[in-house]
């Protein structure tokens, strides 16, 4: 792997940047691997990297039906935080935030992790009570989160309208200072480059069309659009397409796939210094380093794989943004797009080994799994390598729905990004 550094960049600039090489190989699929990851998003690529790096499994492949990072990894609004209510969730998401903090160094790739603070706005009494409960629960779990009065909100994010003339006035907010954003593509590319250097085959344009099982029911391989591949371990990390893949192994999942959309404005000079979320009026906003305002909208009402998202959903979000930040009324929107998110009944992920021997899944991250990318990758790798869960992901089983052990972040937060 060619190591990146300031000096290297300077020297290549002298050579007019003509000397850069592709950062990972484009290998043909082999006939067999020790393990196969389905889905080349940040989670799947991360899992492959940690399998190779920490668990010594080098003969592995990541199979991606399109291009790596072309799923939700490259479509999301990149909000990263860990101030979830329940103990299990706080441990899971904070595991990821801790990995984010060292990720650029670990991968020698600038993932542009920016801990600019994530501010969640309260607009009514219920919000205030629920956010204060989160603040206290988070502190008990060692996760930073603090309550801000409207004046403190204004001081932290001067662009916000905290006046009384709003339909839903800002009554305060919960701030996680360690939260922030990262560059979505860089995460996929950084993991791909580092995994490739450890011998992992990253195979794009390779759709898995069947999961094969032997006479005992164990996983024996996969069929793909680029031919069959033998393997005894398959880790599915396919976000919105998880139900489709699991059906290939004869499993029905507690999942529904919905389009979730985002949009960006024309790029402008730095004008918005943090991440602001409002679950109550459905608006999520931050400014990218390119200058665009990155705005997250809600999901469509119905399940779909269409990767679009309806215009009235985006309009609803823009209404809210215009009230929250009046100066953005004059911004023009540049483009919008959708991604397919896999939603569980309790809005918590499933990261577990499955009843089918040799089959593992990482799914159900729904509208909020980008923040978990390094953690989910690491824990899926652990679970596949040891054939048992890490204590952090042990509660996130498929069986929790049968056993009534839901981790009900849905009830705790209503929406999550």
């Amino acid at each position: 792997m060619q190591r990146f550094s300031g000096l290297d960049l300077f020297l290549r600039a002298l050579g007019r940047h003509q000397t850069w090489k592709p950062q990972w190989r484009e290998p043909e699929p082999k006939a067999a691997y020790d393990a196969v990851i389905v889905g080349g998003g940040g989670h799947g690529l991360g899992a492959a990297y940690y399998l190779a790096k920490e668990f010594g499994l080098r003969n592995i492949a990541v199979l991606e039906k399109g291009w790596i990072g072309g799923g939700n990894t490259g479509r999301n609004t990149t909000i990263i935080r860990s101030n979830y209510l329940f103990d299990e969730s706080a441990a899971l998401y904070d595991h990821a935030v801790k990995l984010w903090e060292g990720l650029s160094q670990e991968l020698n790739y600038n993932v542009m992790f920016s801990q600019r603070g994530v501010l969640m706005l309260a607009h009514n009494i219920h919000d205030i009570q629920s956010f204060k409960r989160h603040v206290h629960a988070n502190r008990v779990n060692g996760v930073d989160n603090e309550w801000l009065t409207p004046e403190q909100v204004k001081e932290f994010c001067p662009a916000l309208n905290v006046g009384p003339n709003m339909r839903y006035p800002i009554l305060g907010g919960a701030l996680q200072r360690r939260g922030g954003t990262a560059r979505h593509d860089a995460v996929a590319w950084g993991y791909a480059r580092a995994a490739d250097a450890l011998g992992v085959d990253i195979i794009q344009n390779c759709e898995v069309t069947a999961i094969n099982r032997d006479a005992q029911g164990r996983v024996s391989g996969v069929e793909t659009t680029r031919g069959p591949i033998r393997t005894t371990k398959v880790g599915v990390s396919a976000a919105g397409h998880t139900s489709v893949l699991m059906q290939m192994a004869g499993l029905r999942m507690p999942l529904e796939s919905y389009p979730l959309q985002a949009l960006v404005s024309e790029p402008v000079k730095p004008a918005f210094n943090c991440v602001v979320m409002s679950n109550t009026i459905h608006a999520y906003i931050s400014q990218s380093d390119k200058g665009e305002m990155v705005i997250g909208a809600g999901t469509d009402a119905y399940t779909s794989y269409s990767q679009r998202g309806a215009l009235h959903i985006a309009t609803h979000t823009l209404d809210a943004i215009c009230e929250l930040v009046p100066m953005f009324r004059r911004l023009r929107m540049l483009r919008k797009w959708g991604g397919i998110v896999d939603v569980t009944p309790d809005r918590s992920p499933i990261l577990a080994k499955l009843p089918v021997p040799g089959l593992y899944v990482n799914c159900g991250w729904g509208t909020g799994g980008f923040k978990a990318t390094p953690g989910a990758g690491h824990l899926l790798a652990w679970t596949m390598a040891k054939d048992e869960p890490h204590p952090i992901n042990a509660p996130f089983t498929l069986e929790r729905f049968r056993d009534g052990r839901l981790i009900d972040e849905a009830a705790a937060a209503a929406v999550a990004h």
Binding site: R252, M253, P254
Partner: protein
């Protein structure tokens, strides 16, 4: 936004409706006779197909009634609507996918 043909009122914009999830998920007649696995399957497991999907909609800002829709989840094209209680029309799963 979808244009949804309510079997009672005709075509109306999606915002007049509420989505009701997968259709034909019948509540078991005797829940206490089920084991946990079967009860969880009723509550939580869904087909979530990429293709033709039978789903419930409620015309909440119209006639107020529930009815069923067959929609392709890739193109979002609606191929049939029918009244609650009627069986799912027998269309091949691929027809709508084109």
């Amino acid at each position: 936004m979808l244009l949804i043909p309510c079997p009672h009122c005709g075509e109306r914009p999606e915002i007049e409706f509420r989505y009701g999830g997968e259709a034909h998920v019948a509540r078991p007649a005797d829940p206490s006779a089920l084991d946990d696995e079967a009860w969880a399957a009723y509550l939580y497991l869904r087909n979530n197909p990429k293709g033709l999907h039978a789903e419930r909609w409620r015309h909440i800002h119209g006639c107020g009634r529930y009815f069923n829709v067959l929609r392709d989840t890739v193109s979002d094209k609606i191929t049939a609507t029918y009244k609650a209680g009627e069986p799912r029309p027998d269309l091949p799963a691929t027809e709508a996918a084109e």
